[in-house]
C-alpha cells in the first residue's frame, strides 16, 4: 500500500513540475526556479542532443536518468547507451504464411519496451487480411477480436517500424531528434523531440506513436533494463517507435527482439544482413519476399515472406 501511495505522490509532484515548466514556456518567460522546483527541471531543460554529449556528459546524463527512474519506479533501473556493433546491419523477416494473428508480439513488445498502458501504445499493429484479396489495406481489419485465431479465409500481417534505409521520418524532423544509427536502427532522443509529429505524418507505416498523455507505466510491470535510445520511460508529448529492441540486440551476447522471442509459431526472423551465413540472408535469397509499400522507395529492412 505504502508503495502505491509513494508512487502517487510522486506522480502528482512530477505533474506539478511539468505544469510549472509548461507555464513558464507558455507565457514565453523563463521564470527563476521556485522553491519546489528541483534542479533536474533545469538539467532536463538544458540537456544537449544525445549525439552532442561528450563521453563525460553522457556518463553523467545516464547516471542522472538511472537515479531518477530508480526512484520513480522503486527498483534498480539501468540506462545504457550501447553504441552500434561494427559490421552489423539489422534485418527482420516476417513469415506471412506462419503468422496466426495471436498478437503475442504486440504485448511482448509492450512489456519489454515500457510503453504506456493507459492510454495504450502499441508499436506493432497486426492486420487481419482476406486471403482472397491479398495485401489490400482497404479491406484490412485492425480490431479483429474472435475467440480463436487464425480465422478461416484470413491471414495476418503485423506491421511495425520497417527501419527504412531511406527513412522519410528522419528527413522531416525539424530538430534532428530522430536519426538512423549505423546498424540501421532509427532512433528518437526523447529529450530532444519537440513533439511536432511531422515524422508521424511522414511515416508510411504508422510506426510512430505519440505520448498524448503522461504515459502510465505501473512500477511492477516496468522493465528496468533500458537503453537511452530505446525502452527507457518516456515523458508525455514525445514520439516513440520500435527500435528492434536496441537494449537487447546490441548487447554481446545479443538477444533477439522481444517480439521475435515470443512468437509461438516462429513467424519472426531476425539477424545481421551483412553476415552472408545469417538466417535472414538465407530467407531473402531463397524465399518469396516482398517489402511493404515498395513504390515509396523507403527501402525497408523489414522483409515479409512466404515460407510455404
Amino acid at each position: 500500500m505504502s508503495d502505491v501511495h509513494k508512487c502517487d505522490k510522486h506522480v502528482l509532484h512530477k505533474s506539478r513540475r511539468k505544469f510549472l515548466k509548461g507555464l513558464a514556456a507558455g507565457i514565453g518567460l523563463i521564470a527563476l526556479p521556485g522553491k519546489d522546483a528541483s534542479a533536474s527541471v533545469w538539467e532536463d531543460f538544458f540537456q544537449k542532443h544525445f549525439r552532442e554529449l561528450s563521453k563525460d556528459e553522457l556518463r553523467k546524463t545516464l547516471a542522472r536518468f538511472e537515479k531518477q527512474y530508480s526512484k520513480q519506479f522503486g527498483k534498480q533501473v539501468t540506462v545504457k547507451a550501447t553504441p552500434p556493433l561494427a559490421g552489423v546491419l539489422y534485418g527482420y523477416g516476417l513469415d506471412l504464411s506462419r503468422c496466426i494473428g495471436c498478437r503475442r508480439c504486440v504485448y511482448g513488445c509492450v512489456g519489454e519496451n515500457n510503453q504506456s498502458r493507459d492510454p495504450q501504445i502499441h508499436w506493432i499493429r497486426v492486420m487481419q487480411l482476406d486471403k482472397e484479396k491479398g495485401v489490400d489495406l482497404a479491406h484490412a481489419e485492425h480490431y479483429y477480436n474472435p475467440a480463436q485465431v487464425p480465422e478461416k479465409g484470413h491471414f495476418y500481417m503485423p506491421v511495425q517500424c520497417q527501419q527504412c534505409e531511406k527513412p522519410p521520418c528522419v528527413k522531416v524532423c525539424p530538430v534532428q531528434a530522430t536519426w538512423k544509427e549505423n546498424d540501421g536502427i532509427v532512433v528518437v532522443d526523447y529529450n530532444w523531440c519537440i513533439g511536432c509529429r511531422y515524422c508521424m505524418a511522414a511515416c508510411p507505416y504508422g510506426a510512430r506513436h505519440f505520448n498524448w498523455a503522461k504515459p502510465a507505466l505501473p512500477a511492477k510491470e516496468m522493465n528496468p533494463v533500458t537503453h537511452y535510445l530505446g525502452n527507457r520511460p518516456r515523458p508525455k508529448g514525445v514520439v516513440e517507435k520500435c527500435t528492434f529492441c536496441i537494449q537487447r540486440t546490441r548487447e554481446q551476447p545479443g538477444r533477439y527482439p522481444a517480439c521475435e522471442e515470443i512468437c509461438p509459431v516462429g513467424a519472426r526472423k531476425f539477424g545481421n544482413l551483412l553476415d552472408p551465413e545469417s538466417e535472414i540472408r538465407y530467407l531473402i535469397e531463397n524465399k518469396r519476399v516482398f517489402i511493404f509499400k515498395e513504390d515509396l522507395n523507403t527501402q525497408p529492412k523489414f522483409y515479409y515472406f512466404y515460407a510455404t
Partner: protein
C-alpha cells in the same frame, strides 16, 4: 534611441485612449484570450490527450488554422504589388494595413504551431547554433525560417514607415523599396514552403500532388484579400480613415481571378483522382462523399464549394462586385469557404484513411475550440492595436508634438459610428474622398 522611446510611450498612451466601442471590443478580445489561456494551461497540464488528435490523425484543428492563416498572411503581397511595383496610388495609401494584417496573421500562425507541439519549452532546439535546426532537409525547418523572415520583414517595413510619419519625415525610399520588393517573394515563399511541407510526403497521397502549391497560392489570394476588404469596409465605417472604392474594387477583381484559378485547380485534382480511381481516391472520397459510412467532413466541404462558387459569381459580375452589400457577402463567403477548404478540408483527409487504411474520424474537442478561439482573439487584438496606432498616424492625428518629446493625439476615440450621410456619399460618388485624407 530617445526618439524611439518617446514614440513607444506615445503609442502606449494612444492605445489606452478610445471610445466606448473601442474599450468594449478590446475587453471582449481580452476575455476570449483569457479563456484560451486557461484552455492552454489545461492542455499543458494533461497533455494533448485533451484534443481529439490521436496517432491516426496526428494533426488537427490547430494545424488546419495554421495552414489557413499562412494564406491570409501571404495575401498582403496582393496589396504590395499594385502599390509598389505599379505605383498605383489608391492602394499605396492602404498597403501598410495589409502589412499589419500579415504581421497579425503570422503571430497567429506561430501561436497555433506552439500550442500544437508536445514540448513548447524546447523551442530553443529550433534555433540554429544553439539548437539543431534540421535545415535544409526538413521543410518544417524551412517554414520556421521563412515565417520568421516574413514576420520580421513586414514588422520592419510597417513600423519604419509609421515611425517616420510620426516624426513627420518622409520614409527613406532607399531603405523601404528593397525591403518591399523582397517581401513579395517572401510572401510567396511562406505559402510555397507550407504547401511543400505537406506536398513532400509520399505516405499521404492526398497531399502528394504537384498542384498543391498553386492551389495554396490561389486560395490564399482569395481568403487574405477577402478579409482585407472586410477590414477596409469596417475601418472606413468606424474610423476616420478614408479608403477609396477604387482600391476595394481592384482587390475584389483580383479575388475573382484567384478564385477562378482555385476552382480550376481543384477541378483538375478531382478529375485526376476520380478518373484514375486508384486506391489514392479514398481520401477524396472521404472528403466529398464519405467513406465506409464515415462522412464528418462531407457537409463542410460542400458548404465550402457552394460558398466559393457563389462568391466567384458575385465577384465576377461587375454589378454585384460594386454593390457594397453583395461585396461584403462575397467576402464572408470566400473567407469561410477557403477556411473550410484549406483548413480542415486539406489537413484532415491527409490522415483519413490513415497509412494502414484505418479510419479514425476527427472532430475538435471543446478545449481545441476554446484555445483556437483564444488565438484568433490574440491575432485580432494585435491587429486592433496595430491599427489603433497606424490609422491615426496615416490620418495625421497622431504625431510628435511641437516640443519634439510629447505626442499630439488628435483622434481620442478611434472607433466611432459615422453618420449615415457620409456613408451614402461614399457609395454614390466613388471620387468624393480624394482630398479628405489630409
Amino acid at each position: 534611441m530617445k526618439n524611439i522611446w518617446y514614440f513607444f510611450k506615445g503609442t502606449v498612451v494612444l492605445t489606452s485612449k478610445g471610445s466606448k466601442a473601442y474599450y468594449c471590443w478590446v475587453l471582449f478580445l481580452l476575455c476570449l484570450m483569457a479563456i484560451g489561456a486557461m484552455a492552454y494551461f489545461r492542455q499543458l497540464d494533461e497533455g494533448l490527450i485533451v484534443t481529439a488528435m490521436r496517432d491516426q490523425v496526428s494533426w488537427g484543428f490547430y494545424i488546419s488554422n495554421f495552414t489557413f492563416l499562412v494564406g491570409v498572411a501571404a495575401a498582403a503581397v496582393l496589396l504590395v504589388i499594385p502599390a509598389y511595383v505599379y505605383h498605383w496610388k489608391p492602394i499605396k495609401e492602404i498597403a501598410v494595413l495589409g502589412e499589419l494584417l500579415a504581421v497579425s496573421a503570422i503571430v497567429m500562425c506561430l501561436l497555433f504551431v506552439t500550442v500544437d507541439i508536445g514540448h513548447p519549452e524546447r523551442f530553443w532546439h529550433l534555433i540554429p547554433k544553439i539548437g539543431l535546426l534540421n535545415f535544409p532537409q526538413s521543410l518544417l525547418a524551412w517554414d520556421v525560417v521563412v515565417l520568421n523572415t516574413y514576420l520580421a520583414l513586414n514588422l520592419t517595413i510597417a513600423v519604419y514607415i509609421l515611425y517616420n510619419l510620426y516624426y513627420k519625415r518622409q520614409p527613406n525610399k532607399n531603405f523601404t523599396t528593397p525591403l518591399l520588393l523582397f517581401s513579395i517573394p517572401s510572401a510567396i515563399s511562406i505559402h510555397t514552403v507550407t504547401a511543400f511541407l505537406y506536398n513532400g510526403l509520399g505516405a499521404r497521397p492526398f497531399w502528394n500532388s504537384s498542384i498543391l502549391v498553386p492551389r495554396f497560392l490561389a486560395s490564399a489570394f482569395c481568403s487574405g484579400p477577402a478579409f482585407m476588404i472586410l477590414i477596409f469596409m469596417l475601418v472606413r465605417k468606424y474610423t476616420k480613415f478614408k479608403i477609396e472604392d477604387k482600391a476595394i474594387q481592384k482587390v475584389a477583381e483580383l479575388i475573382a481571378y484567384a478564385m477562378f484559378i482555385n476552382l480550376l485547380l481543384l477541378g483538375a485534382e478531382l478529375f485526376k483522382e476520380y478518373y484514375t480511381a486508384s486506391v489514392h481516391l479514398a481520401p477524396v472520397q472521404y472528403l466529398f462523399q464519405g467513406l465506409h459510412g464515415h462522412s464528418a467532413l462531407v457537409p463542410w466541404i460542400w458548404t465550402a464549394m457552394l460558398f466559393n462558387i457563389t462568391a466567384f459569381v458575385l465577384f465576377l459580375v461587375p454589378d454585384t462586385r460594386r454593390n457594397n452589400v453583395t461585396l461584403v457577402i462575397g467576402c464572408i463567403l470566400v473567407f469561410v469557404g477557403v477556411y473550410i477548404e484549406k483548413g480542415m478540408g486539406l489537413v484532415i483527409p491527409g490522415f483519413i484513411p490513415d497509412v494502414l487504411h484505418e479510419i479514425y474520424e476527427y472532430a475538435p474537442t471543446g478545449i481545441e475550440l476554446l484555445l483556437s478561439m483564444g488565438i484568433w482573439a490574440t491575432g485580432l487584438f494585435v491587429f486592433t492595436m496595430l491599427l489603433r496606432v497606424a490609422i491615426p498616424i496615416l490620418n495625421g492625428d497622431f504625431h510628435v508634438a511641437d516640443d519634439g518629446v510629447g505626442s499630439y493625439i488628435g483622434d481620442q476615440l478611434f472607433l466611432i459610428q459615422h453618420n449615415s450621410e457620409d456613408e451614402k456619399d461614399s457609395t454614390d460618388n466613388p471620387e468624393f474622398r480624394h482630398d479628405s485624407a489630409e
